[in-house]
């Protein structure tokens, strides 16, 4: 799904799922080179080398009960991912603010100059 981009799945905690995990993408700007190199910081991943893309988990039965779903019969899988970060990764964009500022030059570049 992400082509050559390295991904990392790691356990995490959310109050509404158990167990839970998060999926990180390797930073598409520095590719991890900024980690431990204060002379060349990466502003996109804050020199962490990874960017959190989404979180997921098995829905806590109490959440289902609160929604009126019989947790003895049904289980749930919850997940969500960052739309803007997906776009950033796809287009190697460095700054999330470009997505929302509405500069037409940015948008045009994404849609291949379609009017």
């Amino acid at each position: 799904m992400f082509g050559d981009t390295r991904t990392r799945m790691r356990p995490n905690y959310f109050p509404f799922t158990e167990p839970s995990a998060e999926l990180d993408l390797e930073c598409w700007v520095c590719h991890g080179a900024s980690v431990g190199d204060p002379a060349n910081p990466c502003r996109t991943c804050k020199s962490e080398g990874w960017i959190e893309w989404g979180g997921c988990g098995v829905v806590n039965p109490r959440v289902l009960q609160a929604c009126g779903v019989d947790s003895e019969i049904y289980t749930g899988f919850a997940f969500g991912m960052g739309v803007d970060r997906t776009l950033m990764s796809r287009n190697n964009s460095e700054d999330m603010r470009d997505m929302i500022e509405g500069d037409v030059r940015f948008s045009r570049a994404l849609v291949g100059l379609a009017r």
Binding site: R10, P11, N12, Y13, P15, V35, G36, P38, E48
Partner: protein
């Protein structure tokens, strides 16, 4: 939570060649969100050495300042028996050990040291303050090292505990125990398959009332421990390792007694205070904080704070108050209202005709977020032990343990 690697090593037998980044990878696999690994002290490069002041001449300048033209022994780095250095500070004497950055060194902020002409002399290096080395905000004078066994010319970084890897971890709410060095060291030991030594090394005894009187008036606080240490010397400074670790963990070094309580709090996750015995009158009362109508605002270390809602009260159940409803804050060592922020115990204690100061240690266990009440007793003893070792105190055999931490029965549905 900011965890210096050297501190984690005290309780987890991590391999020597494992650095902060390697441990970070292991902890991330265990589900801990390590955000960054700071290489503390890495912004100081080049020759930073121990110097010994051999001689100095005070020279008043036209701009009103008085500079000191110093001859400093830097061992193998000497030129003609010493180095000539101009220094603007005056808080040192002949024979003192100081920290010298020699030409070629770079200090935090990209401050490059070179031999340069200033005030009519060629200053062949710089005598450093704590602030210039990134070791805190003290810029009132240069650092004078108290250690007697120092060698001029030796690398100053180990003496200053300058370099350490610090793991900055965003602890998730299910892992409150990781808001302590103890919890993180246990995770680190588990993640790397090495031995863990628990700093909480003793069980809580049944109630004892032999020590300083304590009244427990809130069920939200299951246990309160008070241990008395007498003869604490308020003039002793914090040893460098203590001040540095507290600082690397994100707090300021204030004074020995305050640093010790903060150190043990960070280590065990137990909030803990040292009280000045001479300033306590009557028992320490542990009760729910009251709202503004019934109670004056607290003066906290960072300013005034008024519990406004029932929610606030829930969050601050471990406040100690005097029986008459006034707070014991003024007895808490290091409190600003005492007017002696930089000093461990009150000023009067410096008068030679008064007996040596005493400190009561109160271990206030956390209730929920970090809730390991059983660690409170060991934490209080750890504070007492450090006050004895570092502040010259004597542990009183009489102690107080109010409340109990007997496990509450819990029920679980098994399917």
């Amino acid at each position: 939570m900011r965890a210096p690697l050297s501190w984690l090593r005290e309780y987890a037998a991590l391999p020597e060649d494992l650095d902060g980044r390697g441990l970070s990878d292991a902890l991330i696999r265990a589900g801990l969100e390590v955000e960054t690994v700071d290489q503390a002290g890495a912004d100081v490069t080049g020759p930073l050495v121990i110097g010994r002041v051999l001689d100095f001449v005070e020279e008043p300048q036209k701009n009103g300042k008085t500079i000191r033209w110093c001859q400093v022994d830097v061992g193998p780095h000497n030129l003609d028996g010493a180095r000539g250095i101009v220094c603007g500070a005056r808080n040192f004497d002949v024979g003192d050990f100081v920290v010298v950055s020699l030409p070629g060194a770079v200090l935090p902020g990209g401050f490059a040291i070179a031999a340069r002409k200033t005030y009519g002399h060629v200053s062949d290096g710089m005598i450093c303050s704590a602030a210039e080395l990134g070791l805190g905000d003290d810029h009132s004078g240069i650092m004078v090292l108290p250690d007697p066994g120092l060698v001029p010319g030796a690398d100053a970084a180990p003496v200053l505990e300058l370099r350490d890897d610090v793991l900055d971890i965003a602890v998730t709410p299910d892992r409150g125990y990781c808001l302590s060095i103890r919890g993180l060291a246990r995770e680190a030991a588990q993640a790397t398959g090495v031995a863990f030594t628990d700093p909480v090394d003793r069980a809580v005894p049944l109630e004892i009332t032999a020590g300083y009187p304590v009244e427990l008036q809130s069920s939200a606080c299951p246990i309160f421990v008070a241990i008395t240490v007498t003869g604490v010397d308020p003039t002793r400074p914090s040893p460098r390792w203590l001040a540095r670790r507290v600082q690397l963990a994100g707090m300021r070094s204030i004074s020995l007694a305050v640093d010790i309580t903060n150190y043990v709090m960070l280590e065990t996750g137990q909030p803990i205070h040292a009280y000045d015995r001479d300033r306590l009158d009557g028992p320490i009362v542990v009760r729910q904080a009251q709202t503004a109508r019934s109670s004056p605002p607290w003066t906290t270390w960072s300013g005034r704070w008024t519990p406004r809602t029932a929610d606030h009260r829930r969050h601050r159940p471990d406040r100690a108050g005097r029986r008459d409803g006034r707070s014991v804050d003024r007895a808490v060592v290091g409190h600003p209202k005492r007017g002696d922020r930089g000093c461990a115990l009150r000023r009067d204690d410096h008068r030679p005709d008064l007996p040596a100061a005493q400190a009561v240690v109160g271990g206030v266990p956390a209730v929920r977020a970090r809730g390991r009440p059983a660690a409170g007793y060991a934490a209080a003893h750890r504070v007492a032990q450090l006050l004895v070792e570092l502040a010259g105190g004597t542990l009183s055999p009489d102690e107080t343990v109010r409340g109990s931490v007997l496990p509450q029965p819990s029920t679980t549905d098994r399917r």
